[in-house]
């Protein structure tokens, strides 16, 4: 994940400030000062002036508090009212992912464009190589007819003067399923019927304009309610996120106020067991191949964009489901909070997993730890569950599920793993229906697996090393 990016830091700072105010029981009064404190007049404005910057922050705060930003009426309502409504459980934000329109800069439609660096050379490789005859010369300079251009980029590649540039729309460029596009006013909109909640757009937007639905207010209320039992289930990827041991991380999460912390890796043990049995059964029935089902963005992609693959997706539930079930069996009245790096888990939990009450991201967890003054690497270690093996914790990384299944069924099957749902991998997966490359296929929508999820805290390279360390223990 890209860290040298101030939009991401802004989101984190907003989360930290909001949780701090919650903890000080001062959200309603204090929230209105956040935009001014974060964008003081003494700093150079990012957009046209500090007022616009503050206004954008206001909208982002409204989004974090759990409200949809729909029409101009919200400008008539002060932030404090939103905070109060949110504390009163009236924050009914429906969309898991939405565009904060004030922040969206309405990027220019992505296109190849000839700049005035063009010297109209004799070679004119742009003209010669364009497969659609979209280039013409006017006044001795190249010009692209946008209606004819198919965006192949050949002219851009062959120009010896680098005079042709590509102006991207970052969110549209990274969306693997073309679910995000321009509305009439030029700002982006997300098509819910296509979106698989991979989170790529949210991660990429240089304005931080795409925001997820947050449940931090509800989670805070449950944590501080003495009559409620609340149990955290952190995803295996947690072990790569901090400069600390797994035991210390569990202790840090518990210190926020959870009654208990159960590793999702424990549920991963159940997934491995069931999936291995299911895989053997399917092979005995003569099925050509089976893919994993623990990545909800991949499952969403199959549902919405590749229905032919559906019969080959495992019916085994994800580790989150089994972990939550174990908790609910032990404490039927407890509330379960899944903590993970994944945006699509919010969708999975809402649609298919009644056992999970809330989903919290690693970024939100970071905000809680900071607001509660918890130094993760100074914690006393909590004992780890002996039932959890390195195979369960290994689900954090690409190849981990495959490793666990091979460990369970033996090496006689052909296995492969696919990381990322780019165009190439989408084609490859669809081709498996006719000609499978392997019998067991692990699919992760994020390159590198869950550790590279859109809501993770540590950069991938560091997270991988930290996970390796945790698994060695």
């Amino acid at each position: 994940m890209l860290y040298d990016n101030f939009a991401m830091l802004t989101k984190r700072e907003l989360l930290i400030r909001i949780v701090k105010l919650l903890k000080e029981k001062n959200l309603v009064d204090g929230v209105k000062y956040i935009p001014v404190e974060m964008r003081p007049r003494s700093k150079n404005p990012i957009k046209c002036c500090v007022h616009k910057d503050r206004y954008i922050l206001k909208h982002k705060i409204i989004s974090i508090l759990g409200f949809e930003i729909t029409d101009e009426e919200i400008d008539l309502i002060p932030l404090s009212d939103f905070a109060q409504k949110s504390l009163d459980n009236k924050n009914a934000k429906e969309n898991i992912l939405s565009v904060v329109h004030e922040a969206c800069s309405a990027c220019m439609q992505s296109q190849y464009f000839v700049t005035n660096m063009c010297r109209g050379c004799e070679g004119r490789p742009c003209l010669m190589n364009c497969p659609k005859a979209a280039i013409s010369f006017k006044g001795g300079k190249a010009c692209i007819t946008q209606e004819d251009c198919v965006g192949c980029g050949l002219c851009f590649k062959v120009c010896p003067y680098h005079a042709i540039v590509y102006t991207p729309v970052p969110c549209e460029d990274v969306c693997p399923v073309k679910a995000i596009s321009k509305s009439e006013d030029g700002t982006e909109q997300i098509d819910k019927s296509k979106c698989i909640y991979c989170g790529k757009c949210m991660q990429t937007c240089p304005y931080g304009a795409i925001m997820e639905r947050s449940k931090i207010i509800d989670i805070y209320k449950s944590i501080t309610n003495p009559d409620k039992k609340i149990i955290a289930i952190p995803a295996p990827a947690i072990n790569g996120q901090f400069n600390a041991t797994p035991g210390q991380i569990l202790a840090a999460i518990k210190a926020i106020g959870f009654d208990e912390v159960v590793e999702v890796a424990l549920g991963a043990e159940d997934t491995s067991r069931n999936e291995a049995a299911e895989f053997k059964e399917r092979m005995e029935e003569g099925k050509p191949f089976m893919t994993t089902s623990c990545c909800p963005a991949y499952v969403g992609w199959v549902d919405k964009h590749a229905p032919t693959l559906k019969p080959f997706v495992s019916d085994t539930r994800s580790p989150m489901v089994y972990a939550a079930r174990r908790v609910k069996e032990k404490y039927p009245d407890a509330e379960v909070v899944f903590i993970g790096p994944c945006l699509a888990k919010r969708y999975e939990a809402e649609m298919y997993v009644p056992e999970v009450d809330y989903v919290m991201s690693f970024e939100e967890l970071g905000a809680f730890l900071i607001a509660y003054d918890i130094d993760v690497n100074a914690m006393e270690e909590l004992p780890l569950d002996p039932e959890v093996t390195k195979y369960g914790r290994g689900y954090a990384q690409a190849g981990g599920v495959m490793g666990a299944i091979v460990h369970a069924v033996g090496p006689e099957y052909k296995t492969t793993n696919i990381e990322g749902l780019d165009k190439k991998n989408q084609m490859l997966l669809k081709s498996f229906v006719k000609k499978p490359e392997a019998q067991f296929v692990e699919v992760m929508a994020c390159e590198g697996g869950c550790v590279n999820g859109p809501c993770s805290l540590a950069p991938l390279t560091l997270a991988k090393r930290q996970i390796k360390k945790a698994l060695e223990k």
Partner: protein, 84 residues
């Protein structure tokens, strides 16, 4: 060069979340010709993130706020050059 340069990276939760993870990643992948001059420690919260912009580092006792991956490497190189 006789003494190693003391480099302390704050990995208190605030610094870590607001960019310190990136610093840790950068330091762990530094080439040996730089790390041989350094005595690297990861410190719990240095206690000044309320007033100064995280992430913080301390190099030979000097505290520097708001460090990014790129200027961390510049700071380290600069310090090594001055020490030689």
């Amino acid at each position: 060069m006789t003494n190693k340069i003391n480099l302390k990276i704050c990995v208190g939760t605030m610094c870590y979340v607001m960019g310190g993870a990136e610093l840790k990643d950068a330091i762990e992948t530094l080439p040996a010709e730089l790390t041989e001059h350094l005595n690297i420690t990861y410190s719990p919260c240095l206690g000044c993130c309320e007033t100064q912009r995280p992430p913080l580092i301390e190099i030979n006792g000097k505290r520097i706020a708001g460090v990014s991956k790129i200027n961390l490497i510049q700071i380290v190189k600069e310090e090594i050059r001055n020490a030689v």
